[in-house]
């Protein structure tokens, strides 16, 4: 897979020497070109301004013939990002049927940043947040800012578990709106 590394190395070189606005890429492990850590600065004039989000980019061995996966390591309140410790994103170019091997990661990262400025509530991962975004923008803005204050200030953490644990500790008494725990079972 030497030639695929050549491609990845080239992309990495380009994205570190002339990074797109608000995007910083590092390798957590120098010997592993397939895992990138990205710090994404919230775009100006948005509810996310001043925030720093950690993104984890994983390149499959088949890269660039298979799409990379990009997840938020930092919790974010957004219609197109799952509101959990996994932080999955719904992004057109990353879907298998849309992915093209000539697509560059720099472009993908810019698309993620653009998604923060311009959410797509019609194609949501969090239907409730999408509804709120459309019908009660004030409330949405407020919640998004609360999340920024709680999770996206200070040093960026990429270990999702550590981040989640810390978040839980911070959460304390106040946050009753935690998602994720569905009332399973099914006993009548």
């Amino acid at each position: 897979m030497a030639s695929q590394n050549k491609r990845i190395a080239k992309e990495l070189g380009e994205v570190t020497t002339s990074p797109p606005a608000g995007i910083t890429v590092t390798l957590p492990n120098d010997s592993d070109l397939h895992k990138w850590h990205v710090v994404l600065e919230g775009p100006e004039n948005t509810v996310y301004a001043g925030a720093k989000f950690g993104l984890i980019v994983s390149l499959p061995v088949e890269y660039p013939f298979k799409a990379p996966t990009v997840t938020f390591a930092t919790r974010i309140y957004h219609p197109n990002v799952t509101n959990d410790s996994i932080g999955s994103i719904c992004l057109g170019p990353l879907k298998a049927e849309n992915w093209k091997p000539s697509t560059k990661l720099a472009g993908v990262l810019e698309a993620v940043r653009a998604l923060l400025a311009e959410p797509m509530p019609d194609d949501p991962l969090e239907a409730r947040i999408a509804d709120e975004y459309r019908s009660d923008r004030k409330e949405f803005d407020k919640n998004a800012r609360v999340y920024v204050q709680r999770y996206a200030k200070g040093a960026v953490k990429f270990d999702a578990l550590a981040a989640a644990a810390e978040a839980d500790a911070k959460k304390g008494a106040g946050a009753g709106a935690g998602s994720g725990s569905s009332a399973g079972g099914g006993a009548p």
């Binding site: 030639s3 013939f65 000539s102």
Partner: protein, 528 residues
């Protein structure tokens, strides 16, 4: 894309570049869309509900792989001649238009260059595709730049090395099962890779899979064609029953391989219950599986002496080994009563509303009612399996019998026919109970229940004969009885299906609205 907008809005109501995806657009084609195809189903369409002799028996055709290939070739040849374009291009255009030939021809006549553009065939005059070595070329996918690197580009001139092209195709074909609509690897380029280019690039390991996928699009894109779902079967079935007809007809088809399935939902034959009910019923059974599990258990206690009785044949007439008590496995009632006119093992006695005043009592009644029907449904399913086991055992013995008694292979086929009849009839009986569960009482339900009872009694009688020792089976007298009973069972089944199908087509059944779910529409079948 701007220039395409106008064109696309004519071709399709969608903006994903694929025509004919939506029903609203294509449904108008029913009248003219298929007028010169091999079309037995057109007749069936017209016949449903009025002049046809059997309402439950829909017409369909089975096509073997060579027939499917021939149909595609005929389409391609015709388009090739009418539009004066190459066969490769005709094939690509047909696949792009999801094999709607009329629409392709019409659109192509109107605006050929836009159609070619949209289908990925822009600039048809270009030379045949070829691999090239271009000095100073750097592949934008793998970043290789070594001299002598073979490269390839479509008409859009997005050039990549051949290795990358092959990786890409392999990912699409093997990984994603895509074949007819693979685009240029360049980001944002919608040009579809044409068949000639693919033939050049696809490596031998992939060719077979690639052609198989191309072949499949023909059937998958046509509403009137479905693959037979039996494992290893390559046949396709053609049937004219449309999605919107499925509350009026249960389109059971049977493949040359012997598999019988519903053309509407691909589930095994589920006549007389309509597809929507089947879906609901299967979901309900899955949701309530724990409540109902005990029913399909293989052992029960004798209602008289309480000794454990195991069921190992399909027949529901049980005789306790210990006390010789004869009873019915389904209702645990006396078997002797089952032959009489007031036999009502199949009917659930609806309790009057006053019996169930409070919610708890109501829910108990509704559970009892469900269990009544589920019990019988599950029982026939299980019995069909057990009948089959018995047949396999019998089959072995029959071979032995053939040797000993000198009966010919043909002479023992009556057992095969009996086994087939048991399987088919139990399959039908099984679904009559799902059907009955959703059925609301009206003046027709009694006839249905009588038909159900008659079929059930006939089936149990045949099933019982079937379990007799091998030596008796060979006796001419029993042989004749089995043959008579077999044809009687088949006849009763046809009568039942005919009645249910006719009433379904005419919208005369009423279904329990609270069970169907949509409270507004009690009798979904009376809608027009």
């Amino acid at each position: 894309m701007d220039t395409d907008d106008d064109f696309m809005s004519n071709v399709s109501s969608e903006d994903d570049m694929l025509p004919d995806d939506s029903d609203n657009d294509i449904s108008g084609d029913d009248d003219f869309g298929f007028d010169d195809e091999p079309d037995a189903y057109i007749d069936s369409q017209k016949e449903i509900g009025n002049k046809r002799k059997t309402a439950y028996d829909i017409s369909f055709k089975v096509y073997q792989p060579a027939d499917v290939q021939k149909q595609q070739d005929d389409f391609i040849d015709e388009v090739n001649m009418i539009l004066d374009i190459s066969k490769e291009e005709a094939a690509i255009l047909l696949r792009y238009f999801r094999w709607n030939k009329e629409r392709l021809i019409e659109d192509y006549m109107d605006r050929p260059s836009q159609v070619l553009e949209a289908a990925g065939l822009a600039q048809t005059s270009a030379a045949l595709p070829k691999m090239q070595v271009i000095p100073g070329f750097v592949c934008d996918i793998c970043c290789e730049d070594e001299p002598g690197l073979q490269s390839f580009a479509l008409k859009c001139n997005h050039r990549y090395c051949v290795d990358c092209y092959r990786h890409y195709l392999s990912q699409k074909i093997r990984g994603e099962g895509e074949a007819a609509r693979i685009q240029c690897p360049s980001e944002g380029c919608n040009l579809i890779i044409d068949a000639r280019s693919l033939d050049l690039l696809v490596t031998p390991e992939l060719t077979e899979r690639y052609h198989e996928l191309l072949h499949r699009t023909y059937v998958e894109d046509k509403e009137t064609l479905k693959w037979c779902p039996a494992p290893d079967c390559q046949n396709a079935i053609e049937c004219g029953v449309k999605k919107k007809d499925l509350d009026k007809v249960v389109p059971t088809v049977s493949c040359l391989c012997g598999h019988r399935f519903c053309f509407g939902c691909i589930v095994n034959d589920h006549q007389p219950a309509p597809c929507e009910q089947v879906k609901r019923w299967l979901k309900k059974c899955a949701d309530d599986s724990e409540t109902a599990n005990w029913i399909s258990a293989n052992t029960k206690e004798c209602p008289k002496c309480n000794s454990t009785i195991e069921k190992n044949g399909g027949c529901n007439h049980m005789t306790c080994r210990k006390c010789k008590h004869e009873f019915c496995w389904m209702c645990m009632g006396l078997w002797s009563e089952h032959g009489t006119s007031w036999y009502n093992c199949n009917r659930f006695e609806e309790k009057s509303g006053t019996d169930a005043r409070d919610a708890q009592a109501k829910s108990r009644v509704s559970l009892e009612r469900y269990l009544h029907y589920y019990n019988r449904y599950a029982n026939h399913e299980q019995s069909a399996r057990l009948d089959k086991d018995i047949y396999h055992k019998t089959e072995k013995k029959m071979v032995q019998l053939q040797k000993e008694s000198g009966m010919s292979w043909i002479e023992v086929q009556y057992l095969n026919s009996a086994s087939q009849a048991l399987q088919t009839c139990r399959q039908t009986l099984m679904w009559t109970y799902a059907f009955a569960f959703y059925l609301a009482r009206n003046n027709l339900t009694e006839i249905f229940e009588d038909n159900q009872k008659d079929l059930e009694m006939a089936v149990e009688a045949l099933s019982e004969m079937f379990e007799r020792p091998i030596t008796e089976l060979a006796e001419p007298k029993l042989k004749v009885e089995i043959m008579d009973k077999t044809s009687y069972c088949n006849k009763r089944r046809v009568i039942l299906l005919e009645d249910t199908a006719q009433n379904l087509a005419d919208g005369r059944w009423t279904f329990n609205s609270e069970l169907i779910g949509s409270g507004a529409n009690g009798s979904s079948s009376t809608r027009r």
